[in-house]
């Protein structure tokens, strides 16, 4: 069998070798960062170095970084911990934001961009203090959101803005201060670090109420012994990702080739979010008439890993809420797949995808025409 091709970086990215090696070193030492003896102090120093590195990636100060068990926990902490009675979230958010208790939905346009006028209208309707969540880059389409403007609108109406930057961090330059947001989530395993670690960036003026309570770790904002090796890995991954942002142009070229060739070879294929600013690594392609599931399985047999929407909902395949929010009908949304590239992706990987996907399209067309005859 040929080498498997992994084009599902938005689900999880392989850990970079440098990250794996520092984690292996961290795992070979003992020490609880809260202990006061030498072993504990050494662990604490490693933790704080990692905090500085993560802060640097997103233009924050180390004291603003609260380590969590991942993006889901950070998003939940941001919305529940801010303690605002009303929560407004864009219709394309990740499930960990979208399913927040009693969240109201802000619509998006057909390009997959949040409707800022609608946000303003929603905020004006009720004076109650609100939290607004708008992600920086969508996980399925890669479409970038007008977060700076959303933050300005939220602040004008007395609301806080939370930004889920899980997919954006490490793929575009992210500056917490320049974005003007109050809270922001990042995740290690989307940028070459390990799964099981994330961070919530908290602006100084936000009073965050801890949700997971116990020992006073993370300055009382998140209890629990820190995932030391994972956090050390996160730090190194953040540092590498920050240094390689320039290399995203290479992925943009690969991605553009993929989209151009796919659309040229398969008449009728659709590209979601094509007219909006997007991450350089993500393509959301639809092959009308062939379900997402069939495409993903056929590609898997050909040794190419892609996904039908987000990994969290994989297993229970249903039409993407993101594409539906963009106005796609259920059939079209149900025929979309996500291809996401990353630091290890090559032109050969893209070629392997195109070969398998175009062959599948041709087969289904032939079947379709036979049925029609």
């Amino acid at each position: 069998m040929r080498r498997p091709v992994y084009l599902d970086y938005n689900a999880t990215a392989p850990v970079r070798p440098e990250v794996a090696s520092v984690m292996a070193e961290a795992l070979a030492t003992v020490g609880n960062p809260s202990s006061v003896h030498g072993f504990g102090r050494a662990a604490r120093a490693q933790l704080e170095t990692a905090r500085e590195r993560v802060a640097a990636l997103v233009g924050a100060r180390p004291a603003q970084v609260v380590f969590t068990s991942g993006g889901t926990e950070a998003n939940n902490l941001a919305l529940a911990g801010a303690g605002r009675g009303r929560v407004l979230v864009s219709g394309i958010e990740h499930d960990s934001v979208l399913k927040a208790t009693a969240a109201e939905t802000i619509p998006v346009d057909r390009h997959g961009v949040v409707d800022l006028a609608a946000l303003d209208r929603l905020l004006v309707t009720r004076p109650e203090p609100a939290s607004v969540a708008v992600m920086l880059a969508n996980n399925e389409t890669g479409v970038l959101q007008p977060v700076v403007e959303a933050a300005r609108i939220a602040h004008d109406r007395g609301a806080l803005l939370h930004c889920d930057a899980v997919q954006a961090a490490g793929k575009i330059a992210v500056d917490f201060k320049a974005l003007g947001v109050d809270l922001m989530t990042v995740s290690a395993h989307k940028l070459g670090g390990p799964a099981g670690v994330g961070a919530l960036i908290v602006a100084d003026h936000v009073h965050l109420s801890a949700q997971q309570r116990g020992g006073g770790q993370e300055r009382g904002r998140r209890a629990g012994t820190e995932n030391l090796a994972g956090i050390v890995g996160f730090g190194v991954a953040a540092e590498i990702a920050a240094g390689e942002l320039g290399a995203m142009a290479r992925l943009a070229d690969l991605r553009d080739d993929l989209e151009r060739l796919a659309l040229a070879a398969v008449p009728g294929a659709l590209l979601f979010g094509r007219d909006a600013p997007r991450l350089a690594n993500t393509s959301c392609l639809a092959l009308p008439g062939v379900s997402s599931e069939v495409q993903v399985m056929a590609l898997d047999l050909a040794g190419v890993a892609v996904s039908a929407g987000s990994a969290c909902s994989s297993g229970k395949v249903q039409a993407s809420h993101v594409l539906r929010a963009m106005g796609a009908d259920a059939a079209t949304a149900g025929s979309a797949i996500r291809i996401s590239l990353g630091w290890g992706s090559t032109a050969e990987d893209v070629g392997r995808f195109l070969e398998a996907w175009c062959a599948l399209a041709a087969r289904s067309r032939a079947v379709g025409s036979l049925t029609a005859a």
Binding site: P4, Y6, D8, A11, T12, P14, V15, A20, M23, A24, L27, T29, V30, N32, S34, S35, V36, H37, G38, F39, G40, T68, S69, G71, T72, E73, N75, N76, H94, D95, S96, K99, H189, P194, A195, G196, V197, Q211, Q212, R213, G214, G215, G216, A223, G224, T225, E226, N227, L228, A229, G230, V296, A305, V306, S307, A311, C312, S314, G315, V317
Partner: protein, 400 residues
């Protein structure tokens, strides 16, 4: 080999400093590290991406690990929910049970010597209108079963939370008796077993435990992973802490950290295979340490019941000596005054206070944690240094 494991190769003079704080955290067993590392790199799939082979490989390994965790405590693998650690498990068990819709009893009973995260979870529920009953423990640190029975008979109760083994004084509670008492009254029994799992036998069936918290880094696994056992029959229902992708049967959203889950599984498998021999070895070392110290400094006292305790724990009071001053005298020994979470705090341990120790003795107590890589030479060295430091400090102290 890790740093601490390497020390065991020492002869009479062990490598310094000596790690004697195994209740704060344990070194990750090199066998565990070896098993988990490939899942960071070549086997990196997201275990929820089951539509492709990368994801399926990770998912299969996570399920095998779930089985290993279940086996150690006599559970079914479908009853194991992976979490980020025991703090999350305790928060999820206690808040989840009380916040579940349809739970009308709204009363939780726990103990003053529980870990901070149990007490804080209960306190939070108190703010939400739940009745929180904090019971005292006896002078030996064990709970009074009659008092528990009387308390449960007062009013309908949702949940009792009792730690299996205390993190500071190492006493092991009578879990089977507590379980029987709770089951007979239809009350859920949660146990924070972060310190006990893998150290003393735990069987959720025999002990009638409904919810049980497990920590990775206390049993030679990595930090950042834990598990909650959630009984299926009769079914225990929990309100999740997080909204999201509804992983872990809807109880705990968030991408599973496959390497960490696999590591916890391996740590549990090793503990299951080696627990009896390790407990016997550590029990001997612990007794050797205490006997040696008692011979050299006769006035020392053991805090907590001498029989029902973890094989790797001692909590020792040095009358007339300040515990922090003692630790400051001993940079070559990594010891602690109590829980790492509250290490920076200056007030005496709330656990020791709960035993009725006067402030002076509580302030003069230290925790000694022995574990998998502790050698006899290290124990002898520790006795020698502890005894001479205690004598120095006694000499320096103004005589009464």
């Amino acid at each position: 080999m890790n740093d601490v494991a390497r020390q065991t190769n020492g002869r009479n003079q062990p490598k310094l400093p000596i790690y004697l704080d195994y209740q704060a955290t344990t070194p990750t067993d090199p066998r565990v590290v070896a098993v988990m590392l490939p899942y960071f790199t070549e086997k990196f799939g997201n275990p929820h991406s089951t539509s492709h082979s990368h994801g399926k490989e990770a998912a299969a390994a996570v399920e095998a690990a779930r089985h290993q965790v279940a086996r150690l405590i006599g559970a079914d693998e479908r009853e194991i929910v992976f979490t980020s650690g025991a703090t999350e498990s305790n928060n999820l068990a206690i808040k989840g049970a009380l916040r579940f819709k349809g739970e009308s009893r709204r009363r939780v009973v726990t103990y003053v010597t529980e870990h901070k995260c149990v007490l804080e979870s209960a306190r939070r529920l108190g703010e939400e209108g739940v009745e929180v009953v904090l019971l005292p423990v006896r002078a030996d640190g064990l709970i009074d079963l009659d008092l528990l029975a009387r308390t449960l008979d007062e009013r309908p109760t949702t949940l009792v939370s009792v730690m299996a083994a205390n993190n500071e004084i190492g006493v092991v509670q009578p879990l089977a008796e507590i379980g029987a008492l709770c089951r007979a009254r239809g009350v859920l029994f949660h146990s924070d077993a972060a310190q006990a799992v893998g150290k003393v036998p735990i069987d959720v069936e025999a002990m009638k435990i409904d919810l049980l918290s497990i920590s990775g880094h206390k049993i030679y696994g990595p930090k950042g992973i834990g598990a909650l056992y959630v009984r299926r029959r009769p079914r225990v229902r929990l309100e999740p802490l997080f909204d999201g992708g509804a992983q872990e049967r809807g109880i705990r959203s968030g991408t599973l950290a496959a390497p960490l889950c696999i590591a916890l599984g391996e740590a549990c498998a090793i503990a299951g295979a080696e627990m009896a021999a390790e407990a016997a070895r550590l029990g001997q070392l612990r007794d050797r340490l205490y006997r040696g110290l008692k011979a050299a400094v006769p006035e020392v006292v053991l805090n907590g019941d001498p029989e029902h305790r973890l094989p790797g724990n001692l909590n020792i009071g040095f009358p007339g000596i300040d515990g922090q001053a003692l630790l400051d005298e001993l940079p070559e020994l990594s010891l602690s005054l109590g829980s790492a979470c509250t290490s920076a705090a200056v007030e005496p341990s709330y656990v020791l206070k709960a035993l009725g120790l006067p402030d002076a003795l509580a302030n003069g107590s230290i925790r000694i944690g022995l574990g998998r890589y502790t050698s006899e030479a290290e124990v002898d060295f520790a006795v020698d240094r502890l005894a001479s430091a205690a004598r120095r400090l006694r000499g320096a102290a103004p005589s009464a």
